[in-house]
Amino acid sequence: MDFDDTPEEAAFRAEARAFLGSHATRKQRSSGALRYGDTDAAEVERAKAWQAKKADAGFAGITWQKAWGGRGGTQMQQIIWNQEEAEYEVPHNVFLIGLGMCIPTMIAYAGAEQLQRYVRPALRGEEIWCQLFSEPAAGSDVAGLRTRAEKRGDEWVINGQKIWTSGAHYSDYGLLLTRSDPGVQKHAGLTAFFIDMRAPGVEVRPIHQMSGASNFNEVFFTDLRVPDSQRLGTPGQGWKVAITTLMNERLAVGEIRRPDLQDLIELARSVELDGRPAIADPSVRGRIADWHAKSQGLTYTRLRILTALSRGTTPGPENSIAKVVNAAKLQDIASFGMDLLGMAGGVMDPELVPMHAMFQDALLSSPSHRIAGGTDEILRNIIAERVLGLPGDVRVDKDVAFNQLPSGSR
């Protein structure tokens, strides 16, 4: 066990720091109001520019083969890069889904010519990809989706609706899962495609979230025509393709969630309870210690997983831990921070309330974290079944044709 860099690692870290130091600005904590806002066109442009710069310097796709424009480096280098980049003000990473999930699926299922065409532009940030799986009636139960794909000659005609698509409005391409045969068992009737998000028949509408942000979209398909050459896998093999995508879900670097422990400590030092700084209060100390233990536990769990990955093991569902813990923790910290303000806790004015009302903002954005990208409940199922090996739940939807399944009124 060694938490220090090897000489090679130190050299790479120095290289990363040198690049970042001359191309980006170091972060100042709490340097401004923190809003969970939309990613606008200007932000996308900045992200594209930064990705191109990284790619040119060999810091995009660090573990990717050189043939695809990667560095051919190690998992440990990727970890080091992530650690260093997190210290700088860099644009929101709009490429995570494309590079982490869509392109690896393309590599597994698309033809050589297509890969030649799509992989490099994606890595350089010239083209953005999104993932089109979830539907209004198919959230946790993705395989319950209803978007129809019907074969007409050399084309497929797509009709239906997707939902919770991150970045659909600035994406160029999308990975789409459809139902091509509703007359067979639900997992057996799916087919996957990649599609041009600018094609006629694709309409993107932002979803207005309770926090005021619109991080997700609805995507409607009306007689969208997709050439058969954009099919991934055979017809009916869509579920297998989707599994590839979901298994490639990278060890989320994720956005940095605020308020974090340091923010809470800062708040607890600045506000008073009964005339003393809140941080002197044992009940406050107890909560801070609990959350610190959780945060650190996640940090080192992640490093343990990455160490295992760097030795060639395949990623398991262990990462579900981080999501389960972080989502609840964020909501709890937000609520607790507001409580520390007593009667003024409900005020959202960033000029009046400590820490730019970061805690109040997080109260409203955090519920989505317990749901989007896998609900708490689904993640616990995954941990129980795939890590602990507990038996699956009784399935009533396994031996029935999709169009014979009961569906409820919501």
Binding site: G139, G144, D274, G342, M343, G346, A372, V396
Partner: protein, 370 residues
């Protein structure tokens, strides 16, 4: 012994439910939430017409004199529909302060106007971050003028009258301030729940009339908060119940993996826990309602206990209602967030759990010492 509401109260509840179903559907709340109005004057007027604003005001001040059990019933129903009206500030706080501390003349001047819906009033206590406590009051009252900064003041931008808590030469004092007079500057505050108006109010030598005898001290404010806590607990129980009903209905109707999501233990047990929290809160609220109605010696402990339970229940119910709704739950268009926002607002409006838990234990200590 009888641990249930009276038949009169039950009739009142049914009447209130019918009335509010019509007069306060979610779109009424959203109209305020989305900034089109600071409150719903139509609903407010209609409520005044029903006599609700004076439910617990004695008949000699034009109230209905129905007593506090009736007011608790109304509070629960208003909480259930998230009524966007200045009821808590005007009725639980201002009217109660005037009833408790006002002179006969003051009662005759203000209460009938409140009852008729002509006067929105509030209590200006908080001065930024902090729990309710005497040392937290820095506003000064002297020579009939009050100076200081109060925020958040519930319904502060729409109220015409405020009961201001301030320090004067003899200690803590209450004073009535006309908010439309010179020396009062108000700014609307963005809140975690924008369906209820709040303001920051700067008093700069604003004309003030003493409410009650000088030097009444913190005890008057504490008692006022205890009484408001009982009524607020009913609002919270109403909100918790509505959140639970919403989640339960959705869990029955929404299918995943070929079955209603309510048939999965993860959902069932979550909702069972919410039910338990809500029922405990309801029972504690009932007891507090009795203590309030009977002006029993148990009131301070009963009020704090009800408040602690109700705050927990509403927040967990609102939070898990979002979770049960999945992706739909955190959209603007579904109503889940309205309850979540209100739950957190009410959890803080009279001081946080910290204040109320401390009150519970302080009362238990007194009782055990006795």
């Amino acid at each position: 012994m009888n641990f249930d509401f009276s038949d009169d109260s039950k009739l009142l509840r049914e009447q209130a439910q019918r009335f509010l179903r019509e007069q306060c559907p979610p779109k009424t709340v959203r109209h305020v939430l989305e900034g089109h109005a600071p409150y719903s004057p139509d609903l407010w007027r209609a409520m005044a017409g029903m006599g609700w604003l004076g439910a617990a005001v004695p008949e000699r001040y034009d109230g209905a004199g129905l007593g506090y059990e009736a007011l608790c019933v109304l509070a629960e129903e208003l909480g259930r529909v998230l009524a966007p009206v200045p009821f808590a500030s005007t009725v639980y706080l201002a009217a109660e302060a005037i009833l408790a501390a006002g002179s006969e003349a003051q009662k005759r001047e203000y209460l009938p106007r409140i009852v008729r819906g002509e006067l929105i009033a509030t209590l200006a206590l908080a001065e930024g971050a902090g729990e309710p406590r005497e040392a937290g009051v820095r506003a000064r009252l002297s020579d009939g003028r009050v100076t200081g900064s109060k925020w958040p003041v519930p319904d502060g931008s729409i109220a015409q009258l405020a009961v201001v808590v301030a320090q004067d030469a003899t200690g803590l004092a209450l004073a009535l301030v006309d908010l439309t007079a010179p020396g009062v500057i108000r700014a609307v505050l963005p809140m975690v729940d924008p369906s209820r108006d709040h303001a920051k109010i700067e008093f700069d030598n604003a004309p003030a009339t003493p409410l009650g005898a000088p030097g009444q001290g913190w005890e008057t404010v504490r008692r006022l908060l205890d009484r408001a806590a009982v009524l607020t607990a009913f609002e919270q129980v109403g909100g918790a119940g509505a959140s639970l009903e919403m989640a339960t209905a959705y869990a029955k109707e929404r299918f995943a993996f070929g079955r209603p999501i309510g048939s999965f233990q993860a959902i069932k047990h979550k909702l069972a826990d919410v039910y338990v929290a809500t029922e405990l809160a309801r029972s504690n609220a009932y007891y507090a309602a009795w203590a309030l109605s009977a002006d029993a010696a148990e009131l301070p402990l009963a009020a704090a206990t009800a408040r602690v339970s109700a705050t927990d229940a509403f927040f967990v119910a609102a939070k898990e209602n979002i979770q049960v709704h999945g992706g739909a739950g955190f959209t603007w268009d579904y109503d889940c967030h309205l309850f979540y926002r209100r739950a957190k607002l009410l959890a803080l409006s009279l001081g946080s759990q910290r204040y109320w838990k401390d009150r519970v234990v302080a009362e238990l200590e007194t009782r055990n010492a006795a």
